[in-house]
Every structure is written in structure tokens, then in C-alpha cells.
């Protein structure tokens, strides 16, 4: 077996030192009834690297990769071009195969990277502090709701209609066990988010208002007004960003008054990967630092006075605080944070702005072209790189029919909101720098065909 270095000679020499007759004898504490005498039945035996690669390649070939077809899916996961150096660098063994930096003297590479990551995220979101990342955007969002409850000591969360429905489901699942009251209704296909209705629902019991920006339909809610209204009632504004590239074009949630900003960092550096692993972004005001979940990296000096970095404020965390911890999270999305940070470093502010501008330019072109297809209506008045179309027919059926034509058309609202048939004509379309004019034409032609 190619991954196991011990030889039979080694094994018998080691058994002599241990004083056991066989490896099986080392398992004598396992009750005999639970010890399997031989191999588990029905499972294949070991396989060569070539055989495994061939098997996996066959499975891979049964999927349509985003890069091999006109592709317009977004709704919380975005396809951007990732520079080659990103993947090269994250595969350096010293990053890839290191553990959590518990011994800072020999983990400064990971620690400095995390410090840079936190600094980049704080600047991007315009918050005072960011942590070293969470599992993904949806779990970060739930943790933010829990954190708001710890800060405000209130148990009612107001969720905007524009929050990704999977995020809403995640919050609902957890709230079912913690007794939080969740106030949410599914969106309607209006040109703009109904900020006024949301604001009217904030009251003295509200712990937090959760608003996605841009929202699930691609619209841009008025965060500043919502923040002001929330603060006037003693509630916190949690802003959710599922497409961080947008912040190269639009004002940051921090600037607009959000108290906690969470996000999905997947779109920079990480790739689609069928949903994971992704990268939860989490940032807030310094005064809420001790209520924040997750790992934090901080700057300090060593015994010679040299600058260095350590994991810090870990008494908030489960391995020390146990049942009183701010969260049970025991990891961060380290390698994804590295990919995000490298991609962000390659872009810089100038590059991120150019990337965002290119996304917006192509999205505007696509919105106009697709909105002109008979039976298709553009819903949004404002958007960044994602917008919603209202089709004359059922959008889920259209998506299926287009997939049969090798066009990955977008995400239908029927898939996301199975209980809201009245918005079943909605199709969320994302356009990035990877989208070509030919792709847009292909989708326009395809839509025209399947809606005819």
C-alpha cells in the first residue's frame, strides 16, 4: 500500500518492543464481539493511483462543468476567473499540509497570512475587526444572529425578504432549537426591495435585522436607512454579502452602518466546487469583539522583540470555555481564506475595481439583451452582476430545457422557493467577467426557443 511506510520486518521488530504477539493483540480492549475478524465484507480492495484516477475521471466526466457551457448561475456562488498562481501557491505543502497554528514559532506563514486576510476583509467590508473565517456564508449568518442576541439580549430576528432562502432555512433550523423568533416572508418580484415594509417591522423586541446586499434577486437595498431605523430601536443591522466582488463597485456595508457584516468569500480564489468548501466572512465593530465567534489572529512580538502573529482571544472559544463558548466552531476555512487572500492581493484595489466594473458592464449588456427576448421581462431597476428575469413560463422548466441544450441558464426561483408558486416565473441570472457575448447570445436564443 503506497501510503504506508512500515514493512513487515519493521512491524515485527516494533511488536517485540511493544511486547505484543501481533497487531491484532493491540486491540484486546475491544470486546471480542465487536472486533471484526477479517475484512469488512462487500468492499473492494486497495487500488492503484491510475485505477482510482480513472474511476474519478469517469465520474467527473458525467457532469457539465461550468467552463464548458454558457453559464449564468449565481445565487450565492459565483464563477470568476482564478489566476493560476492562486492554485499553485495554496498547493505549497507548507500551507496545504500544516495544522492550525498552535505553535506560533513555526507557523508564522499561516499566521501572517491570516492577519493579512483579516486586514483585507476588514477593509473590504469597512469594519473594524474581521475574524479568520467561518465555514461559509450561511453558517456565518446564523452565528451573527446568535451573536446579536448575546449583545442585545433580545430574541427576535427580522429577516429581509431578500436574504438567500438557504440562509433563511439555516437560521430557521437553528432557531427551532434555541427558541429565537424569526420574522420572515419570501420575496415578491418587485423592481426594488421593500425597505419601508422592513423598517416598519422593526420594534423594541428586535435583536437584529438581517439584510442581504445585493439581495437574492440582485437588487440593492437601502442599507443606510435600515441601519438608522434599526439603531433607533436598539437593534443591530447584520449585512450579508454573498458576492464580495460587488464591493469593488458599491459602497461597503460598514460604511452604510452595518454592525455585523457576514459574507460568502467563495467568489474570490475558491471556485465553485459544487457548494464547498467555501469561506465564511465575519466582521464587526471592535466593541463587540469579545462576543464574536471564531478564530482570531493578532499581532505581537517575540522574545527578541521581532514582530510576529499568534491566535488570540481564544478564551472565547470552545477548547477553553467549553459549554460557555461563543460558538462550538473549532476550525476556520484556512485554505480557502488563503486562496481568497492571494486572489485579493493579486487584484489589489485597482484590480478589484476593474473586475467589478467589467462584471457590471457585461451584466448591463446581458440584462438589456435578455430583457428584450419575447416573454422575458427584466425585474430589477438596479443590480451589480446579477439580476432577475420574469419569464412568461415556469422558470424551472425553462432551466431544465436549456440544460438539455447544454446551456446553464441560471437559478429558477421555483428551485429556491418551492412554496411560492407565484414567483415561479423568476430566473436569477449572474454575469461575470467569464461570461462572453456569445454566451449571452446563446442564452437569449435558447430562452426565445424554450418560451416560444
Amino acid at each position: 500500500m503506497r501510503y504506508l511506510p512500515l514493512t513487515d520486518t519493521d512491524r515485527s521488530a516494533m511488536l517485540d518492543v511493544v511486547g505484543a504477539p501481533s497487531i491484532e493483540a493491540l486491540f484486546s480492549d475491544v470486546p471480542e464481539s465487536a472486533r471484526l475478524p477479517g475484512l469488512i465484507e462487500g468492499l473492494p480492495l486497495h487500488a492503484s493511483e491510475m485505477a482510482v484516477e480513472r474511476h474519478m475521471q469517469r465520474l467527473s466526466d458525467r457532469n457539465i462543468a461550468a467552463g464548458s457551457a454558457p453559464f449564468f448561475l449565481g445565487a450565492g456562488a459565483y464563477r470568476h476567473h482564478v489566476p493560476s498562481s492562486v492554485d499553485h501557491l495554496i498547493q505549497r505543502g507548507e500551507f496545504l499540509t500544516a495544522y492550525t497554528p498552535y505553535q506560533p514559532e513555526i507557523a508564522q506563514g499561516t499566521l501572517q497570512m491570516l492577519f493579512e486576510f483579516q486586514s483585507q476583509v476588514a477593509r473590504l467590508l469597512e469594519c473594524e475587526v474581521a475574524n479568520a473565517s467561518m465555514y461559509d456564508g450561511s453558517t456565518a449568518c446564523w452565528e451573527a444572529v446568535v451573536m446579536a442576541r448575546r449583545i442585545t439580549k433580545r430574541g427576535k430576528s427580522l429577516i429581509s425578504a431578500g436574504l438567500h432562502p438557504h440562509y433563511v432555512s439555516t437560521i430557521n433550523t437553528m432557531a427551532g432549537f434555541t427558541g429565537d423568533v424569526i420574522d420572515y416572508t419570501a420575496p415578491v418580484l418587485d423592481a426594488a426591495a421593500d425597505d419601508e415594509a422592513l423598517i416598519a417591522s422593526i420594534d423594541d423586541e428586535t435583536s437584529c435585522v438581517v439584510v442581504q446586499y445585493p439581495d437574492i434577486l440582485g437588487r440593492l437595498p437601502d442599507l443606510a436607512a435600515i441601519a438608522e431605523a434599526a439603531h433607533s430601536k436598539g437593534a443591530l443591522l447584520i449585512a450579508v454579502v454573498t458576492e464580495p466582488v460587488a464591493l469593488g463597485a458599491i459602497k461597503s456595508p460598514g460604511e452604510l452602518g452595518a454592525d455585523i457584516v457576514v459574507g460568502e468569500g467563495q467568489s474570490l480564489g475558491v471556485g465553485l466546487q459544487f457548494g464547498g468548501p467555501y469561506l465564511g466572512l465575519f466582521a464587526t465593530r471592535e466593541k463587540y469583539l469579545r462576543q464574536m465567534p471564531g478564530r482570531l489572529c493578532g499581532q505581537t512580538t517575540d522574545a527578541e522583540g521581532k514582530r510576529g502573529f499568534v491566535l488570540t482571544l481564544s478564551t472565547r472559544e470552545q477548547h477553553i470555555r467549553r459549554e460557555k463558548a461563543t460558538s462550538n466552531i473549532c476550525t476556520n476555512s484556512g485554505l480557502c481564506a488563503l486562496a481568497f487572500s492571494i486572489h485579493m492581493t493579486l487584484l489589489g484595489e485597482a484590480g478589484l475595481r476593474a473586475l467589478a466594473a467589467e462584471n457590471h458592464r457585461l451584466a448591463c449588456l446581458a440584462a438589456d439583451r435578455l430583457g428584450a427576448v419575447p416573454g422575458v421581462e427584466l425585474v430589477n431597476t438596479s443590480f451589480f452582476n446579477e439580476f432577475t428575469l420574469k419569464l412568461s413560463g415556469n422558470a424551472s422548466a425553462a432551466v431544465k430545457a436549456l440544460a438539455d441544450r447544454q446551456i446553464l441558464a441560471g437559478v429558477s426561483l421555483g428551485r429556491l422557493y418551492p412554496d411560492a408558486p407565484d414567483i415561479g416565473g423568476g430566473l436569477i441570472v449572474a454575469v461575470t467577467e467569464t461570461t462572453t457575448l456569445e454566451d449571452i447570445e446563446a442564452l437569449a436564443a435558447g430562452l426565445q426557443e424554450v418560451l416560444a
Binding site: M56, Q273, L408
Partner: protein, 523 residues
């Protein structure tokens, strides 16, 4: 108050003794191949970029609703060569499995095969969107289904929830299944019992799910006190969380009897699967009466730790808990195609599901790697994995126990990790000092100060991936350091002297947190 039962008390060297090696100063701060690297904020500018993109056209259409981000936000950029060099230089300040043995107990730092990386990057896995139509992702769904089948078979359980994103997330999944099952039978309970030697995630998870946590004592030989546990069971206990093999490196001999007693009291058994590597292919938790167990794919099944994540924590479930598993999950249809069951169809397939724990379907990038690893080993290779892992740990235990206190050394063979205490060290030398001494010898230290039940704990898990020659080198170095510790050589309190950094001032880091770069703080 309870004062620091573990003895963990980070200290800074009193002064840098000259004979211990006054720091060699150079103009650059570099020491040969040990290279200093500034922060990107100090070397980059907001105008520099390493990506070629069209310049934004003036007068281009703008539908941003008047929200244009006008002000600079100070994100530095680097050109590609600068970027490659920055991260390469940073990487060289890290220890990693690729550099040598990484014997962190309870972490299972095994080799990360590069085939896994290749497979995860195949376009059909790496470049598919989680919301693509089912017909376009049959191969990806097949990976989930195939891995799920392996996990269920290897553990002897009934079902598996694949979506949890890490071990602790899996724990939460298991506890939520238990809560849902209890609520479904109209018997909500309040207490979860957790041994004092458990990972901190166990009590944190139970508390997060709304339970009160109570401890279970251990016996003198390092196992769960079955009599005490039995005495505590009652109608208020929802679950018992047990790590098996436990964090003292021992197999819980009474596991089956414990499960039977817990079930008889109407409660469920949650098993922390962190240490599954010790028994994979030899013992099925299902045969021990376990109701739920998470599997850390990054431990037992070799997905890379990546400097602290991402993980992946599928949870295997008993027949009693399977009806409450979270969304989404895969179902194989009669025609051989695989469906992803989400909110729209859950009522037809699993009406008791407790719901969704996160967006999308779990850590696909980890599933592909884990499946490649499992297929590479097969049933025979996996059995050899646990055998060699346990042999390596016992070899370590017996090669060190004449010098070090092994509190449970007489309790039988250890499983895949060997546990020692600081009892033999002379006054003034701590577990921390020994760990730092190992760094100077070029090794990553063992886990220190865990489990909490042993003072100055040192938990060594070599894994099956280390050769006898590597183990012998490590043992020789470790013995040398322990001899110094036992003799009271205070020079160890200066260690490490030869790493990229000396001991870090963690107290100042926590008192005055500096968590992001700012120009004022740069000095």
C-alpha cells in the same frame, strides 16, 4: 474559582542568555534561508495589480442605484512575481506534514496524497455550481452517494448526513437529530452528559443546542466511570457524548454496555469520531450501539488540514435517528440516477428532517479527496491503516515510558495515541518547555495540555504514515529533551532558539488586540 487544572501557563524567557545563543543580527533580519517577509500592506500599493483586466470605460452604463463606492478602501495589490514570492516566503515559515512528523494527538496528521488534489480539481468536480440542474451533476452526486455508502459500511450504521462542514458542525448535526427524535416522541429532555476528558466542542455543541451539560467522571485507569454514569442516567438525560477511542488514547471497553444502559434509560449515544483512525476497518461503531458519530474526513480520510481548515464532518446515524437527518441529501432513483433532495421534495422522502444546516450540499472538495483516499486503500488498506497507527503509538508509548510518566500506561495497549504527564519534570520546567525544545530539534510538538484530566498532558499521535526510522529519530530527540526536563535544565525555558520566531508575547496580544493592519500600528 478553579485555578488552571491543566498547568498551561505560557511564559516568556526571563532574559536571553548569551551562552544559549545571543541572536545573530544581520542587516536584513534574515538568517540564511530563514527569510523575513513584510506585510502586503507594507510592500503593495492600491494601484498595483497582478491581474490584467480592461480599464473601466468612462461613461459606461451604471445601474448601481447611486451606491458607487467612491472612496479608496486601501487594499494593496502586488504584481504576480511579487505575489508568488510573498506567499512562497511566508510558506517557508511553516512546519507541515510535508516537512516531517506532525504528532499532534487527537488531530491525525497523516500524509495528504497528491492524487486527492488532482482529483478534486477535475473540472467536473471543481467547476460545477451547487444549484446546477440534477441532470448536469450526476457524477458529483454519485461521488456523494458512493462516499456515503463507504462511510455507512465502515461504521455499520444505517444512514449518513453528508452536509456538515466540519467535525463540530457534525456534532451539532448529531445532537440536533437526537433532539428532533426526542421531541418527536414528546419527551424533550434537558441534560447531555459529557466526560471531563472530552474535546471542548462536545460541551459547547450541547450547550449551543440548548442542553445543560453535566460531566461524567473517569476511573483511575482513564476510562468512563460506568457505574457513575449508570447512576446519573434518568428521564432528564437526552444523550451521552463519548469519544471512543477516548482522548486518553484508550478504547472504552464498556462501550456496548454503556450504550445498552443509555438506551434503556431512553437516551441516545453520541460518539465523537475524532479518533476513528484507530479502529477503521476493524471495529464498527454501529456494533457498539452508537446512535450518531461524526467522521472528520480531514483526519481519518486524509483531506488536507490547510493551516486550520476547511474540514468536513459527515455524521453516521442509527435507524432511530436516520428519520431526522438534515437537508439536503441524495437519493438513488430506480433508473439509477441520483436526486438531490431539498425543501421541495423533503416531505415525500424524510418528513421528520430537522432542516438545513447550511447552504448547499456539503464539502464536495473534501468528498472527492476522501473518496480517492478510501478507494486507494480499499477494505484491506484501511484495516492496515488502523493497525499501523496503533502499532506506531504503542511503539512510542513503550519507548518513552521509562523516562516519562504515562498515567494510563498500565491500562493496556493504547490506541492510536500515547498520553504522558509532566510528573517527571523537575520544578521550573513545563510541558510547554519540552514542546518548544522539540521545535529546536526540527519537530512539530505533540498536543499539549489536552486532555484536561492529566496535568501537563502530552498527547502523541504518530499516525500510520511514519516509518520506523522517523519514529526512532523522534524518540531519540524526545528522550534527550525529556532527560533535560527531568534534570531541571532551565535552558529549555529559552526554547525555541532556532525557529523563525522565539516565544511570542501572547499576553500582550490578548490585552491589546491588534487584529488588522493599520498605518499607525505598523511601527
Amino acid at each position: 474559582m478553579k485555578v488552571n487544572p491543566t498547568g498551561w501557563n505560557p511564559t516568556m524567557p526571563e532574559e536571553i542568555a548569551n551562552d544559549a545563543g545571543a541572536p545573530l543580527t544581520t542587516i536584513t533580519g534574515n538568517r540564511g534561508l530563514m527569510l523575513e517577509e513584510a506585510l502586503i500592506f507594507e510592500i503593495g500599493t492600491t494601484e498595483t495589480t497582478g491581474v490584467d483586466l480592461p480599464a473601466p470605460a468612462a461613461g459606461a452604463p451604471n445601474r448601481l442605484g447611486g451606491l458607487d463606492r467612491a472612496e479608496s478602501f486601501g487594499l494593496p495589490g502586488l504584481s504576480e512575481p511579487e505575489t508568488v514570492r510573498h506567499y512562497t516566503r511566508l510558506s517557508r515559515q511553516n512546519y507541515a506534514i510535508d516537512c516531517g512528523i506532525f504528532p499532534l494527538g487527537s488531530c491525525t496528521m497523516k500524509h495528504n496524497p497528491r492524487l486527492n488534489e488532482k482529483v478534486a480539481r477535475m473540472p467536473g468536480f471543481g467547476d460545477v455550481h451547487p444549484l446546477q440542474p440534477e441532470s448536469t451533476v450526476q457524477g458529483a452526486l454519485a461521488v456523494i452517494d458512493e462516499l456515503a455508502e463507504w462511510l455507512v459500511t465502515l461504521t455499520g450504521m444505517d444512514a449518513v448526513a453528508m452536509s456538515p462542514k466540519a467535525g463540530a458542525h457534525g456534532e451539532l448535526c448529531g445532537i440536533l437529530c437526537i433532539r428532533a427524535a426526542l421531541e418527536a416522541r414528546g419527551d424533550p429532555r434537558e441534560v447531555v452528559l459529557v466526560p471531563e476528558s472530552a474535546h471542548g466542542t462536545n460541551p459547547a455543541t450541547a450547550a449551543f443546542a440548548g442542553y445543560r451539560v453535566e460531566g461524567i467522571p473517569a476511573t483511575a485507569e482513564g476510562r468512563v466511570d460506568f457505574e457513575a454514569l449508570k447512576a446519573r442516567l434518568g428521564p432528564d438525560v437526552a444523550a451521552v457524548m463519548i469519544t471512543n477511542p477516548n482522548t486518553c488514547g484508550l478504547f472504552e471497553r464498556d462501550m456496548k454496555a454503556i450504550s445498552d444502559a443509555v438506551h434503556a434509560a431512553g437516551a441516545f449515544v453520541y460518539c465523537d469520531g475524532a479518533n476513528f483512525n484507530a479502529i477503521v476497518g476493524r471495529v464498527r461503531p454501529g456494533d457498539l450501539g452508537v446512535d450518531a458519530m461524526h467522521i472528520n474526513l480531514h483526519k481519518t480520510f486524509s483531506t488536507p488540514h490547510g493551516g486550520g481548515g476547511p474540514g468536513s464532518g459527515p455524521v453516521v446515524l442509527s435507524a432511530a435517528l436516520a428519520p431526522y437527518a438534515p437537508l439536503p441529501f441524495t437519493v438513488k432513483q430506480a433508473d439509477g440516477t441520483i436526486s438531490l433532495i431539498e425543501e421541495a421534495d423533503v416531505a415525500d422522502h424524510l418528513p421528520g428532517s430537522f432542516g438545513r444546516m447550511s447552504a448547499f450540499s456539503g464539502q464536495m472538495g473534501m468528498f472527492t479527496r476522501a473518496l480517492a483516499y478510501i478507494l486507494s486503500h480499499g477494505a484491506d488498506g484501511l484495516r492496515q491503516v488502523s493497525g499501523d497507527a496503533v502499532l506506531n503509538a504503542n511503539y512510542m508509548l513503550r519507548s518513552l515510558e521509562d523516562l516519562l510518566d504515562a498515567p494510563f500506561g498500565a491500562s493496556g495497549p493504547c490506541m492510536h495515541e500515547a498520553l504522558f504527564s509532566d510528573a517527571s519534570f523537575a520544578k521550573g520546567v513545563s510541558t510547554l518547555d519540552v514542546a518548544k525544545g522539540l521545535i529546536d530539534e526540527g519537530f512539530h510538538p505533540m498536543t499539549m495540555y489536552f486532555p484536561l484530566v492529566v496535568h501537563g498532558a502530552m498527547l502523541i499521535e504518530p499516525t500510520e504514515c511514519e516509518s520506523k526510522a522517523t519514529l526512532d529519530q523522534f524518540i531519540a530527540a524526545f528522550r534527550g529533551i525529556v532527560e533535560r526536563a527531568n534534570a531541571g535544565d532551565l535552558g529549555l525555558t529559552q526554547a525555541p532558539l532556532l525557529a523563525p520566531r522565539r516565544r511570542m508575547d501572547e499576553a500582550t496580544a490578548a490585552r491589546k488586540p491588534r487584529l488588522a493592519w493599520s498605518p499607525e500600528a505598523a511601527a
